[in-house]
């Protein structure tokens, strides 16, 4: 473990919060900022769902609606999910591998500021004369050119996406270097916790695909200044290649680390070693590679890619995903399961993400994709992967690791209410969208004709969205109550299996005074078993 020069502790100043190189502070800042963006983007979603509750225009104009879905999607992907997935890693990976700090700690600090700045720039579009960007989070060309999307707000979108994703890339590089160089003695690669492995797979996707979006945003910005880049013949297809080569892995980046977190919660709350560790690690790496190979399925209807090839790679993803599901179930099988709040969220993740995954197999088939393309079926599918995967996964991680971060437990009763309401809200919001899409309702419309009889299903989805909002309100109450007077957690309230549970709660600046010997991927479980023997 790294021996760091002792630094006397003092009360935090403003500088401690804005310029700290401590991975825990950077991780917390990243996660806190990402959650703030999540609530902002959620508010936009509520506005949209309320508008759609009945046919006819009620709340916003059609132009404003376009801005809402663009900034909602952009914020959820670029400013919430991706930074949150990396932010959890910035906090916990060094703790899990027994490191005192990150390698090149300035990189993630710089990354945080670029991410925050990019987010502020992107949202500043609302303050401009022509409003925020309104071309969808994928900015298809020529919708995003300077003729169809003039104005500063659209330029701010381009700059904001570029800056924020550069920030996430810097965080990923530092994290990967830390995993390579700072593992504790005995911590071989195949003894790293599952969460750390899931971050490795995530960072492979980040370092290979995120530079592409930086290039894409620079080119789009230059194009919008009047230089013909994407307006040349074939340019619109080139834009789609560039964007989806980044954005499809991004969809996996945003939930992959949380697959690892859920796996650890399932093992800990089943009081068993994670089943099929090595195979799961391999499947995570294969999953990441395949997910970097499937961007063309977003382009099936353009006829500019090989549909058969991308259908093959997209369907093949079911194999590693199936292995992970099998490992989750096998870990629980025969375990002495405790249904604590983190486990409830983990089960919610498993169930809701399954809906997203299974519907993904359908849209990986070109004939079916042609049928549902740009309909609400697609909206339902990716919301099950993102809501089920990222949001439920993130709350699994939050409830699991909150005691380590704060030294206090989150309230159990409110936590159960939160989990229950959010699960019910997730079903109520997104299941009707499958039916709406199947009946032909297109995505990204502010209104629909009453003769379609889509009002009831849309109203159900809106009630679901408000249910999710209620669950988040319960979470906020729980969060502040627990921060102010929550039950003390001690070092290891869950009988965790990995090294972070050796550290004090919250961990000191350089994390550990001493580390146990690492003989497997569950060193604390080894210790307990030896003590009992």
């Amino acid at each position: 473990m790294t021996m760091a020069v002792a630094v006397p502790r003092r009360r935090g100043t403003v500088l401690d919060y804005v310029a700290s190189t401590d991975h825990k502070r950077i991780g917390l800042a990243t996660l806190g900022t990402a959650l703030t963006f999540f609530f902002l983007a959620g508010a936009l979603a509520l506005l949209m769902r309320t508008e759609l509750a009945h046919s006819g225009m009620q709340i916003v104009s059609k132009g404003a609606y376009n801005e809402l879905f663009t900034i909602h999607g952009s914020t959820m992907f670029f400013l919430f999910a991706a930074p949150a997935a990396l932010g959890v890693g910035i906090y916990f990976v060094p703790l899990q591998i027994g490191a005192a700090d990150l390698v090149w700690p300035r990189l993630p600090l710089l990354g945080y500021w670029l991410f925050l700045g990019g987010g502020v720039v992107l949202w500043s579009g609302f303050l401009t004369e022509q409003g925020a960007a309104d071309f969808g989070w994928f900015a298809f060309y020529p919708l995003s050119d300077s003729v169809n999307a003039p104005g500063t707000g659209a330029d701010f979108w381009v700059l904001g996406v570029g800056l924020s994703q550069l920030g996430v890339l810097l965080m990923g590089i530092s994290l990967l270097a830390t995993i390579i160089r700072r593992r504790a003695p005995g911590m071989t690669l195949l003894r790293m916790p599952l969460f750390t492995w899931s971050e490795v797979a995530t960072i492979f996707m980040v370092v290979t695909s995120f530079p592409v979006v930086l290039v894409a945003m620079v080119l789009l910005y230059v194009d919008r200044q009047g230089v013909h880049i994407f307006s040349e013949p074939g340019g619109a297809i080139t834009w789609q290649h560039l964007f989806w080569f980044y954005a499809h892995p991004l969809v996996y980046v945003v939930f992959f680390p949380l697959v690892g977190a859920v796996g650890e919660v399932i093992a800990t709350f089943s009081r068993r070693r994670f089943f099929g560790y090595s195979v799961t690690v391999l499947s995570l790496l294969a999953f990441a590679a395949l997910s970097t190979s499937v961007w063309g399925h977003h382009m099936f209807t353009t006829q500019a890619v090989s549909n058969r090839f991308f259908s093959l790679t997209s369907t093949a993803i079911a194999v590693p995903a199936g292995i992970e599901y099998f490992a989750f179930i096998a870990t629980m099988w025969g375990g002495r399961i405790r249904l604590g709040v983190p486990m409830l969220f983990a089960l919610g993740f498993v169930l809701l993400f399954l809906i997203g995954g299974l519907s993904g197999i359908f849209v990986a088939s070109p004939p079916l994709d042609y049928h549902v393309h740009d309909s609400y079926v697609v909206v339902a599918h990716f919301h099950y992967t993102l809501f089920g995967g990222t949001v439920f996964g993130l709350f699994t991680a939050i409830y699991y690791w909150f005691p380590k971060v704060t030294g206090r437990l989150l309230g159990e009763t409110l936590g159960r209410w939160h989990a229950g309401l959010m699960f019910a809200g997730g079903l109520l919001t997104f299941i009707p969208m499958f039916f709406l899409g199947e009946e032909g309702m297109p995505r990204q419309v502010a209104d629909y004709a009453p003769f379609h009889h889509w009002d009831t299903l849309n109203l159900l989805a809106t009630i679901g969205a408000w249910t999710i909002f209620a669950s988040l309100a319960v979470f906020l109450v729980n969060l502040f109550r627990s921060l102010l007077g929550g039950e003390p957690a001690g070092r290891d309230p869950w009988e965790g299996q990995t090294l972070e549970w050796v550290a004090d709660s919250p961990p000191p600046r350089h994390n550990f005074d001493a580390l146990p010997r690492v003989r497997s991927y569950a060193p604390l479980l080894d210790l307990r078993q030896r003590e009992r023997a």
Binding site: L109, L159, I180, R181, L285
Partner: protein, 123 residues
């Protein structure tokens, strides 16, 4: 199993998937093979570099004086955001942010030199 092999192996897996596409499918244009080739190249070269420079092994021991704070980094981050925004809002902001960036880089150099001095004193 060491990090260079995992990284290069992941790149090789991408190469296999890409090759399947090139050999058995009509990929309709250069973009798809170019992306597969790019990812393969990046990961294989990264793996090889780590191996050749012997950076692929964990080196957890030894004192590493690192600052608890790096105001210069935070300053640089804000400067870069303003610099990029200046492209939209005008040259006046580019000039201000350019100056700020210079100050930030100077601060970073100062921090790194202090770090090196501390390391030498520790040694």
């Amino acid at each position: 199993m060491s990090p260079p092999w995992v990284i290069a192996g992941w790149g090789a897996f991408m190469a296999i998937v890409g090759l399947v596409g090139v050999l058995f499918f009509d990929l309709k244009g250069p973009e798809t093979p170019a992306f597969f080739g790019g990812v393969t190249g990046v990961m294989v070269v990264l793996g090889l570099l780590l191996r050749l420079l012997r950076l692929g092994v964990s080196a957890p021991d030894g004192p590493r004086p690192s600052p608890d704070l790096s105001p210069a980094t935070a300053w640089l981050g804000v400067s870069l955001v303003l610099l990029a925004t200046g492209a939209e809002l005008g040259l006046w902001l580019v000039y201000i942010a350019g100056g700020m960036t210079t100050v930030g880089v100077g601060g970073l150099v100062r921090e790194l030199r202090a770090e090196r001095r501390a390391a030498e004193e520790e040694a």
